[in-house]
């Protein structure tokens, strides 16, 4: 029985990691077509770095992702903070209302965003992309941070006050340092949500503000190039580095 479970676990891992491993392997495949492996090459990487249009979409995605994640994390922090610490009237309503954008199908949000933007005569572009992405990342950022705030012992801030700290000092020396991991988590989650989004971007991007996922999606028609495998590999590598850095910091925190 145990061995069956163990094998099952291994299969799950294979299932999860096969696509990722495949991307990495094919990014070094000399052949244009993925089903034939004809040798190793770094050709696709140099192609990638010379494809200015693809790199421009990458830049758009990063800019939009960072801006949306920053705003969502900041607003989410303040929302979570006030909901957790003050007896806000209509608290239950707020909590429910925050969740709704997570439940409403993205396509509905996309359509209505486009209608709102066009009715107020707003040109689609980076700004509308950022606004659209905030709508879908804000609930996530709020929820992640609210969990951490609810877990904070309320007597910590009372203790700080008792020891002479003003509200600001209490926040800076006690509350924020304890909430920092959740702020970081909210930012990363918001960023990746924005970075990989297609539906909202379809409705809110304009000429010259195509995001990377949109570009890849549209190149389906002309055929995927191994260049995208190279890009995929770099993104996987980047993610690993981020996870490693965050992980090392967490380990330090635990070991310190």
């Amino acid at each position: 029985m145990d061995r069956v479970v163990a094998w099952f676990c291994r299969l799950v891992f294979v299932f999860l990691y096969v696509p990722i491993v495949a991307v990495v392997v094919y990014s070094f495949n000399a052949s244009e077509v993925s089903y034939r492996f004809t040798g190793l090459t770094t050709h696709w990487y140099s192609d990638l770095f010379h494809d200015d249009r693809l790199l421009a979409t990458l830049r758009t995605s990063i800019v939009v992702g960072v801006l949306a994640a920053l705003v969502a994390t900041a607003i989410g922090f303040l929302t979570a903070f006030s909901l957790a610490r003050f007896q806000v009237k209509g608290r239950a309503f707020f909590l429910g209302a925050i969740l709704i954008p997570l439940i409403v199908p993205e396509i509905v949000i996309g359509v209505s965003l486009l209608e709102v933007f066009s009715s107020i005569g707003m040109q689609t572009g980076i700004l509308t992309l950022v606004l659209g992405h905030i709508v879908i990342t804000l609930p996530l950022a709020t929820l992640v941070q609210m969990g951490a705030m609810a877990a904070l012992d309320p007597s910590l801030s009372e203790a700080a006050t008792d020891l002479g700290a003003t509200g600001w000092i209490t926040f800076r020396r006690v509350l924020f340092p304890l909430l920092r991991p959740s702020v970081l988590a909210a930012f990363l989650l918001s960023f990746t949500t924005s970075f990989s989004n297609i539906v909202i971007s379809t409705f809110t991007s304009g000429v010259g503000s195509t995001t990377l996922p949109l570009r890849i999606y549209s190149s389906l028609r002309t055929g995927l190039t191994p260049e995208l495998n190279a890009l995929g590999t770099l993104l996987v590598l980047f993610t690993l580095v981020v996870i490693f850095l965050v992980g090392v910091r967490q380990m330090r925190r635990i070991l310190a």
């Binding site: 009372e158 006050t161 002479g164 020396r173 006690v174 310190a256």
Partner: protein
């Protein structure tokens, strides 16, 4: 009266909505006093304490610290510190930085800060690992850090909210002595909240006994024990026989089925008033033959507790509890079976006449001993 008291409460009261949690009360706590607030869970001890610290605003009444009204002074400017029930140590800061927190906030010079933090850590005997995080400490050590943090700024008053509640029995006993020693050493007024009567009796200079939002009695440990002023105080502190009785004249009490019983009457009860006679089980004497003024009864149960025997004796319509130290049990008594005939007596001074109903007991004003 030239010396002002450390804390003085005047008519202080607190309601949450329509729920009256602390009834109006006056209280004075002297300098360097170890003052306990003792009462069962939910009687309003924490609320009373939080009004002194300023975390709660009293519904009415005022708080004075060192002779000055502090009703408009925020918590952080009041010259007192609180030791929280949960310790509330800052988990991201080391032991050293936790203790240094107040001094850093008050921008104490570096050398002075270091000296005082080390002094505070030495006081609680925790000099060995200033760089550890609270999560790496045992419960008792966390308690000590919290205490060091509370006293490092030399406040006039430290309030402790059931500080030993989370510790095991053995550690509690140790910490009781430690706390008392530290309080004497640093010369700070301690206001100590507890629901443990033994803790209050061993440590305090004076005790305020609370029940359902009311302070019933404020007195020293021996007086609280020997001369409780109300039914609740008598039964909450130690164990006590509470015998229903009636005033048969201005200075005699009569118990149905027993007749007049020995008791000291203080407080003017009108003839015919329902009262209770409170007698401590260890003040009663049990004999196997009648003695002067004794009441005949039957042993309904007896329990051996090592250092003493506890007898339950049925006399008239009343069940009495009598404690007899093991060494003093006469051979005759020891051989008596359950159901055997015995006689119970107690000196007049051991019986205290108290109101049958606590709501009629007088309002109290405590002043420093």
């Amino acid at each position: 009266m030239t010396q002002t008291s450390a804390v003085r409460l005047r008519g202080i009261t607190k309601s949450f909505g329509s729920n009256l949690v602390v009834e109006p009360l006056d209280l004075e706590i002297g300098r360097n006093e170890f003052f306990s607030i003792l009462g069962p869970s939910g009687c309003g001890k924490t609320t009373l304490m939080r009004m002194i610290t300023g975390f709660e605003t009293p519904t009415a009444g005022s708080v004075e610290l060192d002779g000055k009204t502090v009703d408009r002074v925020p918590t952080r400017q009041r010259d007192l510190n609180m030791l929280f029930q949960s310790y509330a140590l800052f988990p991201h800061l080391s032991v050293y930085e936790n203790v240094a927190f107040e001094l850093r906030v008050r921008k104490t010079a570096k050398a002075e800060l270091d000296r005082r933090v080390r002094e505070a850590l030495a006081l609680v005997r925790l000099e060995d690992f200033p760089q550890r995080k609270p999560s790496e400490l045992s419960g008792g050590q966390r308690q000590r850090v919290a205490l060091a943090r509370a006293v490092v700024g030399r406040p006039a008053v430290v309030l402790l909210d059931e500080p030993l509640g989370a510790l095991d029995q053995k550690l509690r006993k140790e910490m009781q002595f430690e706390l008392k020693r530290m309080q004497r050493e640093v010369g700070i007024t301690f206001i100590y909240v507890t629901h443990d009567q033994e803790e209050a009796l061993t440590m305090s200079d004076r005790i305020a006994v609370m029940s359902k939002g009311r302070v019933l009695q404020v007195a020293g440990p021996t007086e609280i024990y020997d001369a409780p002023n109300s039914r609740f105080v008598a039964s909450f502190i130690g164990s006590c026989n509470l015998i229903d009785a009636v005033m048969s004249s201005a200075d005699t009490v009569e118990v149905a089925g027993l007749g007049p019983v020995p008791a000291t009457v203080t407080g003017g009860f009108a003839t015919g008033t329902q009262v209770v006679v409170a007698v401590r089980p260890e003040r009663m004497t049990l004999t196997d033959r009648p003695t002067e003024g004794s009441f005949a009864g039957v042993i309904s149960e007896r329990v051996f507790l090592g250092d003493e025997w506890t007898y339950h004796v049925k006399t008239g319509g009343t069940e009495l509890t009598v404690r007899v130290p093991s060494g003093e049990t006469s051979a005759a008594l020891a051989t008596l079976p359950e159901g055997g005939q015995v006689w119970v007596s107690w000196p007049t001074a051991a019986g205290r006449v108290l109101p049958a109903d606590d709501t009629t007991s007088p309002s109290l004003i405590g002043s420093p001993a």
